[in-house]
């Protein structure tokens, strides 16, 4: 039963290895990529069901007892994140079948994507801070190569910023891990949660918390540290952009949520207030950046930053309702943001550009595409009854209950600006008559199916998340309880050693 915990790492690894062995057979690699991502989704769903029924699962690799060995843990939060990883992997894999060019496919696109999925799953499941560093490096190396695969000038220029800033973040993370080890003598998350309060040095722990905040903050693209993101995310082919937008920054947010609920809760008045301030600044700068853009992918990239602010807001409020809202918001934003990116890819396939000035007339010529864009766009802005409404509603309610009126007002104001920038894409790309006289391409048969199926799936899910808000919030509240009161987590990992 507990061996389910290894499978989300093993399945993509085996598929990636097999795909590397089939280096010269492009068809074979495609099938292996699909099989790996579908397998990951399947085992992730099994894991989620198991965690929902049996509570938190932990596995000590090689039967070494807890603080000494390698630990894998899945609570509800981790299990949900792994499931979303599997879903996004499968969706992007299908989309890649038509939209990825043969040259990139021949140079290891599928094995790299699988290794990226493995790294992300590993980061969500590990119960040890140093292993978290290792998984971060695994997914970073895969993402570096995916980002530059193809070697176009824009890709290289974007990659250099992404690469340098992420490496600095890794060096800071490693330093913080080293200092934390010297203070606490352990790196196992559950053991740390027990040891840190016993040290009686909240000041020192808060300094360490700030080091981790900077390291994870660069990876999660929060306010003063996000500049690498909008400069690099629009350069690679669209499936790569989509999987980056869906998962990479969210791993940073996951690490922040994990460490700031489990470890750094000694001086909440300082650390979590700082998180709230950063959340507000991240939301505002992200959305203001988005409003100014004329390139679709760049505009959407700035929105990623703005949405990270909402996730931080939930963490900073640090109440059960706020954390539940963060979890729902995380799933919602991964799905809707990816749907928007996939639709922008369809738009590019139809009219050959991402630039809003040159696009136009899509509402008239392709009503289906227009609807596929409109639903996730409204969901992102937070209109009922779509998923974004419930997530934002819960966040706002948590903010008001906690008495944080200013930050709640900022969150609501940013929603309006989000709606405004979505309207901008809508009027420019869909409503405005087309000025460029070029024939619009037509998608047919298999190509049409493979382009629309992933986007349709995600748009369907964002509607479904809105309709099924009640059971989803029940699950999220249970997950938030596990985060707020980590005794079950600690008990499961350390066993009777407490």
């Amino acid at each position: 039963m507990h061996h389910l915990l290894v499978l989300p790492i093993l399945v993509p690894l085996i598929a990636a290895g097999a795909a590397l062995l089939a280096w010269r057979q492009r068809r074979m690699q495609r099938w292996l990529g699909l099989a790996g991502a579908a397998g990951l989704l399947a085992v992730a769903v099994m894991l989620l069901v198991s965690v929902a029924n049996n509570g938190i699962l932990a596995l000590q690799i090689g039967d070494w007892p807890a603080p000494f060995g390698i630990t894998l843990v899945a609570d509800l939060f981790s299990a949900v994140m792994v499931t979303v990883t599997g879903l996004m992997g499968a969706v992007v894999m299908v989309y890649s079948l038509v939209s990825m060019d043969p040259a990139r496919e021949s140079f290891g696109y599928y094995p790299l994507l699988l290794i990226l999925l493995m790294g992300v799953s590993g980061a969500f499941l590990t119960g040890d801070l140093f292993n978290l560093y290792v998984w971060f490096e695994v997914l970073l190396i895969a993402s570096f190569v995916l980002l530059v695969l193809g070697g176009e000038r824009a890709q290289l220029a974007g990659a250099i910023k992404y690469f340098t800033l992420n490496l600095i973040a890794s060096a800071l993370f490693l330093s913080a891990v080293g200092i934390l080890y010297s203070v606490a003598g352990t790196l196992n998350l559950a053991d740390l949660a027990v040891q840190l309060p016993r040290l009686g040095q909240p000041g020192l722990i808060t300094v360490l918390a700030m080091l981790f905040l900077v390291a994870f903050g660069i990876k999660a693209a929060i306010f003063p540290l996000f500049f690498w993101l909008p400069d690099s995310y629009h350069t690679p082919p669209l499936p790569v952009t989509t999987i980056f937008a869906a998962l990479l920054t969210k791993v940073g947010v996951y690490a922040l949520v994990r460490t700031f609920t489990l470890l750094f809760t000694q001086d909440i008045a300082y650390t979590h207030t700082l998180l709230l301030v950063l959340a507000g600044l991240t939301m505002v700068t992200g959305v203001l950046g988005a409003v100014a853009q004329m390139e679709m992918r760049r505009l959407l990239s700035f929105h990623i930053i703005s949405q990270i602010g909402y996730l931080l807001l939930g963490l900073g409020l640090y109440t059960p309702l706020a954390l539940a809202a963060t979890l729902v918001f995380m799933v919602h934003v991964i799905i809707t943001k990816s749907a928007l990116f996939l639709v922008s890819g369809i738009v590019h396939r139809l009219q050959g550009t991402y630039h809003l000035k040159q696009l136009g007339g899509l509402y008239q010529s392709h009503l289906g595409v227009a609807l596929l864009f409109l639903l996730p766009a409204l969901s992102l802005a937070g209109l009922p009854p779509l998923s974004g409404f419930w997530a934002k509603f819960a966040l706002v309610r948590a903010g008001l209950e906690a008495g944080q009126y200013a930050i709640t007002a900022v969150g609501l104001g940013v929603s309006v600006l989000t709606l405004f920038s979505m309207t901008k894409i809508w009027t420019e790309a869909f409503w405005k008559p087309r000025t460029v006289q070029e024939p619009v391409r037509v998608l047919q048969g298999r190509e049409r199916l493979l382009y629309f199926l992933p986007a349709l799936t995600l748009v369907g899910l964002t509607v479904l998340l809105g309709v099924l808000a009640e059971p989803i919030f029940t699950l999220a509240t249970a997950a938030a309880q596990q985060l707020i009161d980590p005794s079950a987590y600690i008990q499961t990992v350390l066993g009777g050693a407490l």
């Binding site: 490096e137 190569v145 824009a154 220029a157 990659a159 490693l174 080293g178 350069t235």
Partner: protein
């Protein structure tokens, strides 16, 4: 010994951050390498520096002043990862130089593709 290493590590961090903020790509790589070394040495030092003590301690009785082996295992992992990443960095920066024709980071603008 710890004091000396602390000064060295501080110097490495300072030099690393200074180099990373330069405009030349070559200096940025050197900066990244220095930062990696600083982090590794930091972990090495926090493990405690004891010379001449046995690496194996008896199961029972008081443990002699042995050096904690865990940080050294951590560094070993970190060095291997750092080596791979630095190799990738060199290739990436060389390709950027070929594509852009300059080592000046300010000349690299990401266009709206």
């Amino acid at each position: 010994m710890e004091i000396l290493l602390a000064v060295v590590i501080g110097g490495l961090y300072a030099a690393g951050f200074y180099m990373v903020m330069r405009r030349s790509m070559v200096k940025v790589i050197i900066g990244l390498v220095l930062l990696g070394h600083a982090a590794n040495l930091l972990i090495f030092t926090v493990g405690g520096l004891n010379r001449g003590a046995p690496a194996l301690v008896p199961v029972e009785g008081a443990a002699p002043a042995a050096t904690d082996p865990v940080p050294q295992a951590l560094i070993l992992t970190a060095i291997v990862i750092g080596f791979g990443i630095q190799a990738f960095a060199l290739v990436l920066f060389k390709r950027v130089y070929q594509a852009v024709g300059s080592v000046d980071l300010d000349k690299i603008r990401t266009p709206d593709t």
